[in-house]
Each structure stands twice: as C-alpha cells, then as structure tokens.
Assembly symmetry: C2
Homo-oligomer: 299 residues x 2
C-alpha cells in the first residue's frame, strides 16, 4: 500500500515513486512535465495528472530537484556548505488546492567561493550516506552538470560543478561536429587516448575539438572514434581541473550507467579504483531518509 | 560597369559583389542561401536569383568559401600547407546551365598534423598579403572557428583552428547560461579578468562556466558582466593554447569588428600590439588577386 510519494522533479522530467511505509516501491511513473516547461500554477496539476487516481488519504509528498528553485513550485532556499545534506527540517512546505497532498520540497546546497549550487544531487548524496554512514572521500555525480563533492564526517565540505555533460550534448548535437560524431558508436581506445590528451593539455580543448572535424574530412575518422574522442577530451580536461578532488581519494560515482562507465574508465586509467552505485536507489534512499525525519517530527 | 562577380559563399550566407574591371565595387547584395541550406542543384539558381537580372555577357564569377566543399556546388580540393594562398590556377571550374556564368571556385587549405582545414579564410589571407606583400608573422581570423595562421615568405606555413566562437554561440544561446548572459551588455573589466583567469588555468573552463550561472543565482551577477566573462574565459583559454603562435609576433586581425576588438583587447593585455584590418576588404582583395590571375591566363 502506498503511504507516501517520492518525487524527483528536474528541469526536463518529473519522476514519482509510490512508497510503502516500510520503504518499498509500490509503483513508479514519470512524465516530461519538468520544471522548465511549467509555471508556478502548473506544478500541482502536473503531479495530479500522474498520480491523482492513486491518492485516497492525505499523502506526504517528498520532493527533491529543480521544483525547489526560484522559478519552481516554491523556493526551497539553498543551505550553505559545510552542511549535512539538508533533511526534512530544512524543507519548504507547499500549500495545495487538493487536500490529499502534503508537499515538502527539499532545498539545494550552495557554496560561496567558488560560487556553486546543486539541487537534487544533495538528496542522492544523503541516500549514499544513509547506506554508507562512515564514508569519507569524494562523490562524483556525472551528468549534464557533473558535481565533485568532498565528504567528511557526514558533511558536504565543498563541491565543484563542471558543465562537461552539457558541452558534450551541445557539441555532439548542434555544433559543426554533429555529423562527424553521429550515432551511438564508441571506440574505447580513442576514448582512453583522448582522456590522456585532455588531461595533459586542457588549454588546447577548443583546437582539438575542431581537429575531430578536420580528421573526419581528411582522414575518414569513424563516428565511433570521433564520439569517444569528443567525450574523452572533455572528461580529460575535467579530470585535470578536478585533480585536487580525486587524487589519492576514495571516489564513489552516482549517475547514468553509461556516463559512470566512462568516468570509471577515465579514473581507472589514472590508477584510481572507483565505486559504482545505483543512481535511482540513491535518490530513493535520500528521499526515504527525509521521510523518516518527517515521521519523527509528527510522532 | 560590372565586369565580374566576387562571391563569398559560406555555410549560412551568400554574399556577392559586382566588380568593375578596375577593381571597384559596382554593387553588393546577399541572401541567406548559404551552402548549408542548398543541395548541389540549388547553387546556380540561388546565384541567379540574386544577380540574374544584372548579367548580360559571359561573366567571370570567382567564389571562395564553403561552396567548394564536398557537400557544396563542386568540390575544390584542399591545397596542403606549406603553400601560398591558392589562386585561380588551383580553382575548380563549374559547368552551368546559364551560359552567362563562368564560375571558378577557389580551394581551401589543409594541414595533415595536427589535422586542420580552412575554406574562405585563405582568400582573406591572400587579400592581406596582396596589400602587405612583405608581411611575416601571424594572422588571427576570429570567428565561429577562429584561425591562427603562421605566414612566412608569402606562404601559409601552419595554422590552428579553435572552436571558440561556436562554443560562445552555443553556450550563450542554448545552454543553462543563456538567461545569465542575455542581452548585449559588456563589462570590459570582467572581460579582462576572465581572459587572465582563462589563460592561467584553462583546465578549469567547464567549472568556471558553471560558476557564471551560480554567481547569477547567488550574487546577482549582471548580464553584461556574465557575457563578458563567458567570452573572456573562452578567449583566454584559446590564447593559452595559441601562445606559440602569438608570443613575440606581429599579429594582424581579420574578422568581425566587435570580435576583433575583443581579441585585440585580450592580446593588448599581454603587451602585444595588433593590427586591425577591414575583413570585407581582405575578402575582396583576395578575390581580385584571383581574378587578376584569370585575366593573365586568358590573355
């Protein structure tokens, strides 16, 4: 039986899990009603469109992600580092027209210098720490905006965001490289070489990107080689800058499987063992931890 | 009276100048019938749509740019460096249905290692060298794909292309930064600081890009500051990698005025005097040099 709803509400997607009181998933559903496509009045209807049929009694709804941004459903103000991943006590309660909903939006985390923000990742971190309470080290969350997060004594100490994933998407889909890298091909050797090149000379990135195009024209570079090289150059440059985070550290990866495989390969080539995790499970464990806090405060 | 047509046919635009035998411009016209929007059969009609009314006798048409690419009107194969900017003797003649046209497409220039190509810029270089025959040094052509070109004894010795302009366009128009950098504002101090930052730590580019977003959220960074910082970080990283080209050199800039001003400011901050030029004039002088070659061979 569904006791509460776990919600990951990002820029482009809305994902909802029905959760039993014991913490197991009773159903999962999703839509493309992301924060980016909604105005403030659109959030409650978008949620009801997905789960309205399933609600009976008043149901706690625990939300993480961009729904808590200033342009979202209701602003859940950032908590500043160093901090534990913010729990239900820092959540913003949102009034709803439908009395069956009791909505709590978890805040993101901010850092003053260098200026940085996260929304959603802090909940995956909370989930990882709930499962690994003694973890000290670095969590890397590859994605559109990859995060490197330094964890110590249960706190987020510092973090740094790289636009690597968004650069890959823009360059592979919309730049002059889009024909050269078309398709899903992947050449592991080309990737490894490009990571090494990107790490050792990150300044040359914009030139080496154009070389992918030129080698496509002059040397019939295959699309799979080109695609892997594009990814490797970008990740290599990121690893060069993120070295203070990962060097000599215990690194856990949370994110999309294919992307975590690429980061794992790149870090492995530096002699670094990494721990892969199940990203959906981390999100759910983080939301469950927040729900547990809600139960405590209402008992 | 119009004796011949000078044509710069790029990916997104077609530009045509009517030229007198003495080399003065009799008319200028343009359309958005760029190479990217045409199939092979579309080039002649696109040209006639612009200038068909003005043609009487058989008219030489000298073309530079992407119309000579494999997907263009007719392939004008790349000439390999080191080479003088290729002239009319290396041009591809294109048969036409309309007997009034006598079309010659100038080839681009290629480099094997590192792999690189140019199409169109070699004609601007030819124009610059026609006006400055004793020039030895470096020509920088800022644009979507900025070129750094080493010139010695009238030859293109080597060159390197940076995707800096395309990265700026994608990031400022289509990435998460698009709201933060919206508008035409420009903060010169923010630009200078960002060039310096980008040069001294180019590896951090993807992180410093996201910081623009974060500072927009947390510190109310103004759009003009954000836009100048985005440009400065990208140009700074490029200057770090292009240092072997410009250090201690005489640098001439050919390109869009605002962009050349930015590159001139950035290079000026490194203590480097630069020479600004009129980009349209360089294109026309290059095409005129090719036309002069045509007159010689037909006399």
């Amino acid at each position: 039986m569904t006791d509460w709803l776990a919600v990951d509400w990002g820029t482009s997607h809305l994902r909802v899990w029905g959760m039993s009181r014991a913490g197991s998933v009773t159903f999962r559903t999703s839509s493309d009603a992301g924060m980016g496509s909604l105005n403030r009045a659109g959030f409650e209807p978008a949620l009801l469109a997905l789960v309205g049929d399933r609600l009976t009694d008043k149901t706690p709804v625990i939300v993480c992600g961009m729904a808590g941004s200033r342009q979202g459903w209701a602003e859940a103000k950032y908590v500043a580092v160093p901090c534990i991943p913010p729990g239900i006590d820092r959540a913003t309660q949102v009034p709803t027209d439908d009395a069956r909903l009791s909505v709590h939006i978890l805040p993101g985390v901010k850092q003053t210098s260098p200026a940085d923000v996260m929304r959603g990742e802090e909940t995956q971190i909370a989930g990882f720490l709930a499962l690994n309470p003694k973890f000290d080290g670095v969590i890397c969350l590859p994605g559109t905006h990859t995060k490197w997060v330094h964890i110590s004594a249960g706190e987020i100490v510092s973090f740094r965001t790289f636009m690597t994933g968004e650069l890959f998407a823009l360059l592979s889909q919309q730049s002059v490289l889009r024909h050269t890298v078309a398709g899903d091909g992947w050449d592991r050797i080309a990737f490894d070489e490009a990571v090494s090149t990107g790490m050792s000379n990150p300044a040359e990135l914009a030139a080496r990107l154009f070389s992918i195009r030129a080698e496509g024209l002059l040397n019939d570079l295959h699309a799979g080689q080109a695609r892997a090289r594009l990814s490797g150059l970008l990740i290599g440059a990121e690893l060069a800058a993120a070295r203070p985070y990962w060097l000599g550290q215990h690194v856990a990866l949370i994110g999309d499987d294919a992307l975590c495989k690429a980061y794992g390969d790149a870090l492995g080539a530096q002699g670094l063992p990494v721990e892969r995790t199940d990203a959906e499970r981390m999100t759910l464990e983080g939301l469950k931890a927040a729900y547990a806090g809600l139960k405590e405060t209402t008992q």
